[in-house]
């Protein structure tokens, strides 16, 4: 039963993260997820110092505010024009994370606050924490929270569909249409910050980054449309969480590492085999173009010379005999040149007529 809950939690979390990731990625801010997943720490710690209760909802609020503060500070630094934008992000999140750790070691010396859980998270423990209201069980708390986030994120995307689409692909135009990109940007980042926080104790920082970046990046290699992008990255996310939890059970570790790794492997597979934008497709296409250019070159040379022997042609083009021979055979098969004598070639009647007209 607990395994089923774990799988459910993993699936819902990964879909929420993937959708948020799409919004980040099209904005070219993928690394913000890495920054957010660390910058929420001081918020968590400060709230904990005040309420002294690890289950309090104030922790989530304060952590989300902390994430927003990071985003705001990064943007403020960028606006001064004194710091490179990517450096600003790094400086701010590392600074906030260290403040968080220092607060932990100053204030919470006696409290069990394991630094490991920041990176690992613990998905297998999450189902043990059930939400009970009035004696009735509503399933694991983590699942309820993540499902709420899923509903929130999906309704935001549905409501602001047109605006998001335009903003994601052309923020300047959106600005001219007075779509208030500032407001939508703010809501987007708040949502992402909230997602990060609520996924934090389940997934841990590394899995959040992996789920936010890898599925959308893979989907971007497959499609250009916003709707398909969301669907495809959700499918990839669900697939990696299934495979990840399965592998985790096999080798008896927490599912987070395997899930992250699987999300990455799916990306690598798509990177290699994507139909038009993959590495292999690119290589095949460039080989095809190379072949075309060679064919044309040889044809031009033969047309210019009228009749030419194979060794002469090879010296003219500075190609090896075997390279040249392959191209000649291909052209001869296509019927545009024909062999006069043993190694002399000339343009066939057909292509002479074609070039004549």
């Amino acid at each position: 039963m607990y395994d089923t809950w774990t799988l459910l939690i993993a699936t819902v979390t990964s879909v929420v993260c993937a959708i948020c990731g799409c919004l980040l990625l099209v904005n070219r801010r993928a690394m913000v997820s890495e920054g957010l997943s660390h910058a929420v720490l001081p918020g968590l710690v400060i709230a904990f110092i005040f309420v002294r209760d690890i289950t309090s909802p104030w922790l989530i609020v304060s952590a989300a505010v902390s994430g927003m503060v990071m985003v705001w500070l990064t943007q403020a630094l960028q606006k001064t024009g004194l710091v490179e934008p990517d450096a600003g992000l790094g400086i701010v999140f590392a600074g906030m994370f260290s403040v968080g750790i220092l607060l932990v070691s100053l204030e919470l010396e006696n409290v069990h606050f394991h630094a490991d859980c920041i990176i690992d998270g613990d998905m297998t423990m999450a189902p043990l924490n059930m939400l009970e209201i009035g004696g009735r069980s509503f399933g694991p708390k983590a699942l309820v929270v993540m499902s709420l986030m899923l509903v929130l994120t999906l309704s935001f995307v549905a409501i602001c569909w047109k605006e998001l689409k335009l903003m994601l692909f052309d923020p300047l135009l959106a600005d001219q249409f007075r779509l208030r990109p500032g407001l939508i940007q703010f809501v987007t980042l708040t949502l992402i910050s909230l997602t990060t926080v609520s996924a934090f104790n389940v997934a841990g920082s590394i899995l959040i980054v992996a789920l936010m970046v890898a599925p959308p990046a893979a989907a971007l290699l497959l499609t250009n449309r916003l709707g398909l992008l969301l669907v495809v990255s959700s499918i990839i996310a669900v697939f990696s969480s299934f495979c990840g939890t399965w592998l985790a059970q096999q080798i008896d570790v927490a599912p987070n590492g395997p899930m992250a790794a699987f999300a990455g492997f799916v990306f690598l597979a798509v990177l290699l085999f994507a139909p038009r934008r993959g590495l292999l497709a690119g290589m095949i296409e460039s080989r095809r173009q190379q072949g075309q250019i060679r064919d044309q070159l040889v044809l031009e040379c033969i047309t210019g010379a009228g009749e030419v022997s194979e060794p002469d042609l090879a010296t003219m083009l500075r190609w090896t005999a075997s390279d040249l021979n392959r191209v000649l055979q291909r052209l001869a098969q296509g019927g545009s040149i024909r062999q006069e004598s043993d190694s002399t070639w000339t343009v066939s009647e057909r292509s002479r007529n074609e070039s004549g007209h």
Binding site: M31, A87, G90, A217, G264, L279
Partner: protein, 295 residues
Amino acid sequence: MPDGLLSDYTVRTVVSGSAMIGAVSGSLGCFAYLRRQSLVGDVVSHASLPGIVIAFWIAQATVHQSSSLSMWVLMPGAICAGLAALLLTRLITQRTHIKPDAGLGVMLAIFFGSGMMLLRWLQRANPPLTGSSGLDDYLFGMAAAMTTSDLAMIGTLGTLAVLTMVLSWNRLKVFAFDAEYSACLGMPVARIEILLLTLLVIGIVIGLQVVGVVLMISLLVTPAAAARQWTQHLGPMVCLAALTGAICSAAGAVISALTSLPTGPVIVVLLTSVFLLSLVLAPGRGLLFRRRSHV
């Protein structure tokens, strides 16, 4: 007792090691900063984890067990993994329409995710591998665990990296400011880029033991960003960044030894304060100056 403190052998090792690391990563970080590749610091530090774990595992299986946590064993693994991640990112962003930030993020996820998986799996091995829990030091940084042999490793790699930087200064300089121009001058741009990435990887992985994977980006970039506020020239910027890195790291190590606070976060907080001060106070450029000139 600060007087007694510096004569303490362990503390002296840790402080001098931290200072060296601060200087090396601070000076190399300037190039990452100017190339707008600051996040490389974050990605490489995370991506080196599987390399470290695999190197540890191989050492356990083949060489003497007690030496498998030594930096001489782990660093080559870390450098290979970090470099592999960067070269893959380069391949992805050159050959597909995936943007650099997404490429870096994906590589971080793949390498660090599989590294964590390997690490946890190894730590659960039965019978337990001696010292496998010591690998956690590389995640969060444990400056106090530094030994004299680690110091020698840091010194060797750091000196090599800085020497290479000085020897190829002109090429790196042109490349850092304007890669297209350096291509027009007929420089071997691809080779320079790979050289720079290698130097960065070395500068990053030697710092892992002190500040850990998460905070390494700060050690690399914050000194450079602070130094940039004070000067318009590369030479002074690199020197200033190296100095800032060295002083803050040494001071952080001392403070941490006095108070038992974790070393990495102390160093980063010091560096960030220096950066903020520079941002406000730097002559001609600083925020304070800017406010005055408006009046």
